[in-house]
Amino acid sequence: MTAKQFFKSTTFKCLITLLCVLLISGIFLTVMNSLLKVTDEEKFNRAINKIYGKSVTTEAIAIDYTAQKATIDEAYRVKDDGNYLIKATGTGGFDSGTVTCWVVVAVKNGAITGIDKVVIDSNKAQSYIGNINNKFLSEFSSYDGEPFDALSMTKTGATMSARAICNAVNASIDYVNEKWLGNVTTAGTKLVNALAKLYGETQISIYGVDENGADMLITEETETVTGFITAPVTQGNATVSEMYKVVFTENDTEVVQYVLTSTGTGGFEKGTVTCMTAASAQADGTLKIFKVIITDNEGQSYIGKINHLDKYTGAIFSDGIEFTTTDGYVSTGATMSSTAINNAVNGALSYLLGNIPTNDNQEGGDE
């Protein structure tokens, strides 16, 4: 084919047509993009309007803060009312996704008085985000100083997304508290709050170990907390990460218990469940469980269906005994999560059985 023939051929005509269509489309979209581009400022003003229903004066503030289960993306001080407007992305959502929220943290006289509003900005892979309704979001307004827990809030049918939102809100509160109000939460306070979920109103003394290996009383003022486990230990299908001694008085008798934090594998979609298990050593060398609570989970969409934790209370554990789903330690609709919980509890108690300090063995306080 000669050059002349090529230029007269259909192939050439097709190429030119396609190129022309592409070129015109490209030029058109370039022009439109410059005309219709939504600037960051516009996006921010839209978010403000969505939250406040009007425009407010804000001042950007430094972030420089690391949270465990969320990231603080943007932070502003609202000049009109002195509140803090935080954009935070909570992790731990459905399918390991995230939810980004705008959180208005209300502050008065140097203290957080509540959460004025939570507005969802965007999400990643949250198929059920539409189930998060206003009833759920309005629950954040009743802030009592405790971190929000999706499991104890209104059921939405989107437990994982709700958890990511809670993580974002909790991180926003911690950020404002620690960074701008100077109320740094000590490790001791965090531990005391965590154990309050197990023991409620009961007055307890918590012990870890000091640098010499001796028991050390942990209070809210304790800044550095060291438990009986310094590095996570793998025990069966679980990883045991923390162990503390708890002492309290019941019927004029001193009761000594151990609280262990362990993460069980084998959950839904290869996820995990982290539990706190409190148990005491019996005179016959066995362990008696006081209580088991769930503190965290990875990818357990049906964790809200877990309702068998009371069954562990009073159960006896010894060598050769394991809690399994076939023995009734299971919740209908969450078998995989139940398996992970059993693994966590079995792991924690197996570890405790082989690592009880000798002076505490054969404690019969709660008999």
Partner: protein, 215 residues
């Protein structure tokens, strides 16, 4: 019958893309749980379909037959991208509620179907009328089903809460599928009934004319 009237009636009723041709089912099932989203999607399709029909009809003698489909796709994708930019800038609520379905208009078979079946064989004006009619047929169908699903599934209309009673399933994909099926059945039944009575009337008239001529 006036050709524009025929094109319009075809797009709205006799070849309604949603109920009669069952095209564009993906956005239909995905968006009819909310009347606002359904109507927004419908109106966006009206604009994209009309513009693509006009452009493709105007270029039908320029575009070689061998590369017509790639050219149509580029034109449609450009218009959809423009629609996305426009909605993001001026109607952000609708942009957010349509989500990924907005970009999927590029592969909506109604648009490519009308380009291939109608616009590349007819004049610009006829193609524009066809685009509007088919787009409106799609919009009406989606809005109608959106109203049904939102009213019974969420107890609200266009986001305005009306009643507490609701059948949650109707706001979910399985429920929208059910509503879609029922609406198709009803629509076909009504159109068939109308056509049958029209044929009976026409036959009766023809018979009377024949009798008159015979007399």
């Amino acid at each position: 019958m006036n050709k524009y009237k025929k094109i319009t009636l075809d797009g709205l009723i006799y070849q309604n893309p949603t109920f009669m041709l069952v095209l564009g089912t993906c956005p239909t099932l995905g968006l009819i749980s909310s009347a606002f989203s359904a109507m927004g999607m419908g109106l966006t399709v009206v604009v994209v379909l009309t513009l693509s029909n006009i452009i493709i009809s105007a270029l039908r003698k320029v575009i070689p037959n061998e590369v017509r489909i790639p050219c149509y796709i580029v034109v449609i994708a450009t218009l959809v991208t423009f629609a996305r930019m426009f909605l993001e800038k001026f109607v952000p609520d609708l942009y957010d509620s349509l989500g990924g379905f907005l970009a999927l208009i590029v592969v909506n078979c109604i648009i490519l179907g009308r380009a291939e079946a109608f616009a590349n064989k007819h004049t610009v004006v006829e193609s524009a009328v066809d685009g509007i009619a088919n787009g409106l047929g799609f919009t009406i169908a989606l809005t109608l089903m959106g109203i049904i699903c939102e009213f019974f599934g969420k107890g609200s209309l266009f986001g305005l809460q009306i009643m507490e009673f609701k059948i949650g399933m109707l706001a979910k994909p399985a429920g929208t599928f059910l509503v879609y099926g029922i609406c198709i059945a009803l629509f076909v039944y009504i159109v068939d009934g109308f056509e049958r009575s029209r044929r009976v009337k026409a036959n009766k008239l023809a018979r009377e004319n024949m009798l008159k001529e015979a007399a």
